[in-house]
Subunit: 258 residues, 2 copies
C-alpha cells in the first residue's frame, strides 16, 4: 500500500546496524535506502524518471506540471527518509543524510557531478552517512530519479569499498522465480553469461524476475567487472538478525564478484 | 523554550510566500531559515560552532564526543527544517531542501566549496530552494556551524540577487536598544562608520544589540560594499503580511545598500 512504512521493521534494522557498528567500530559504513511506496507511487503518477522530452520542454504547462511532480516525488522520498533518520536517531546512531537531489547532477540518467567531500568527512568522523533513491536534476532530461543501486554504484567507483550489501525481500538470486527452487550462491561475470543463456534472464519471463532483480544483477555484474576487488551480496533483510550478520561478515544469500 | 516551534507563525509565513510567488511568478526566490531553539540549544551544549582544537583532535574521547554532538545538532536543525518543509508543502509550494551539511565544505568557518548547480537548476525549474543554518565539515576546525546569514552572503556573491530580505523579530535596526526610540531607515557603508562611532555599536552595550543585530549589520554592510548592486532589508516578520509585502517590493524596515 502506498505511504505505509513498516515502522517496526525499520526500527529493527536500525538496531541491527547499531549492534554491528558497536561490534566493529572501525568499519566504515554508508547506509542507503529506497523510497518504498513513498517515492514510487508519486514517481509513477508524475513520470518523473523519464524526464522532459525536447518537445515537452517548450510547452510551459507540461513543463510546469513536470516540475511540480518532481518536487512532489522529492518531498515524498524525503518523508520516508525522515522516518529512517528518526529511527536511526532513536537507535543512538549518529546519522547524517546526503540527499542526492541537493548534491548530485546527472546527464542522461548518469551521475556526472557529486562532491563527496562532506560524505567522506562524515565517514572519517564516525558519522553514519545516509543516502536514498531521490529525484535529481539532469542536464539532458531536465530531471530524473536515481535508484539507491545507481547511487551506490557511483559511490563504489569513487570510494572503493570492500563490500556492497543489498538487503531486500528475497533470500538471494533464484534460478527460477516465483518457484524459488534453487538459490544461486555465487555469480561471476563468467557464470552470469551462462546463467542468462540457460534461464533466459533479461526477459520479463526470466528466471529471477522479482522487483527488478534481473536488472539489479546485471547492474552489479557490470559493477564488479569494473571493480574486481568488490564483493556484492544480495540477501534477505527480512530474516531476523540478517543485516547485523551480513555487516559482521557472514556469507548470506548470493555473492557477486569478479 | 527549546524545541518549541511557532507552528502557526511558520504556516502564516508559508502562506505569505505562496501569495507573493503567485503574484510574481517570474521572481526567483531562495528561502532560508535559522535553527531557532532547535539547533541553538544543542549547539551550545556541544560547542559545535567552535570546532575541535588541534590538541582535542588527538584525544579520541573528546573527538568522539564532538562528532556525536555535531551529528545531534545537525539532526535537530533538520528536525526544524522538516517542519518548515511540511508547512511549505501544505501551502502548495514546490519546495526542495539543500542541507548545507550535505553539500558545503568550510575552512576556518568560511565556505570554500558548494556546488550550486542543483540549486540553480531548482530555481530555473520554478522550484523553491530552501537552505538553513546547519553543521558543516570544516577542513581546519573539523566541524562548525554556518548561520543562515553566512550561507546567504555566499549565495549572494555567487548568484548576484537583487535583494536579500532578512525577516526577524525587530522592525529594523534601532538607534538605541532596547529603548527602540528611532528606527534607522537606511544604512550605507559611509553612514555605518558614523553610526558605529556615535552609538558605540560593536560593543556589548552597543546601540542595536539584539540577538546579534550588531554583527548582522556589520556582516551585511561588508556584503553590500563588495556587491554594490545588492539591496539588503532587515525588517519584522512578526507583523501580519510583512513578508508578502517585502517580497512584493515594499520598503519595510531598514535598508542597507552601497
Amino acid at each position: 500500500r502506498p505511504y505505509t512504512p513498516r515502522e517496526d521493521k525499520i526500527a529493527d534494522l536500525a538496531r541491527q546496524i547499531a549492534a554491528a557498528r558497536a561490534a566493529m567500530p572501525e568499519q566504515h559504513l554508508v547506509l542507503g535506502h529506497g523510497s518504498g511506496s513513498f517515492g514510487h507511487t508519486a514517481a509513477r503518477e508524475h513520470r518523473t524518471r523519464q524526464g522532459l522530452s525536447s518537445s515537452e520542454k517548450d510547452r510551459p504547462s507540461r513543463r510546469e506540471r513536470y516540475w511540480r511532480g518532481f518536487a512532489e516525488v522529492g518531498y515524498q522520498a524525503a518523508r520516508l527518509n525522515r522516518l529512517v533518520m528518526d529511527t536511526l536517531h532513536e537507535a543512538d546512531l549518529p546519522a547524517m543524510v546526503f540527499p542526492p537531489s541537493a548534491c548530485v547532477t546527472a546527464r542522461e540518467g548518469k551521475i556526472i557531478a557529486w562532491d563527496l567531500t562532506p560524505l567522506r568527512a562524515a565517514l572519517e568522523a564516525g558519522i553514519l552517512p545516509v543516502v536514498y533513491g531521490d529525484v535529481v536534476f539532469d542536464e539532458a532530461w531536465s530531471g530524473t530519479i536515481l535508484s539507491t543501486e545507481e547511487l551506490f554504484a557511483y559511490l563504489a567507483r569513487e570510494m572503493r569499498p570492500r563490500r556492497l550489501l543489498l538487503a531486500g525481500l528475497e533470500e538471494g538470486v533464484w534460478e527460477s522465480f516465483p518457484a524459488r527452487k534453487r538459490l544461486v550462491r555465487e555469480i561471476t561475470p563468467g557464470s552470469y553469461a551462462a546463467m542468462r543463456e540457460r534461464f533466459g534472464a533479461g526477459t520479463a519471463e526470466g528466471a529471477d524476475v522479482t522487483g527488478g532483480m534481473v536488472s539489479k544483477v546485471a547492474h552489479m555484474v557490470s559493477l564488479v567487472r569494473s571493480l574486481p576487488g568488490l564483493e556484492v551480496r544480495i540477501f534477505s533483510g527480512e530474516e531476523e538478525g540478517n543485516v547485523r550478520r551480513a555487516l559482521l561478515g557472514e556469507g548470506l544469500g548470493t555473492v557477486i564478484h569478479a
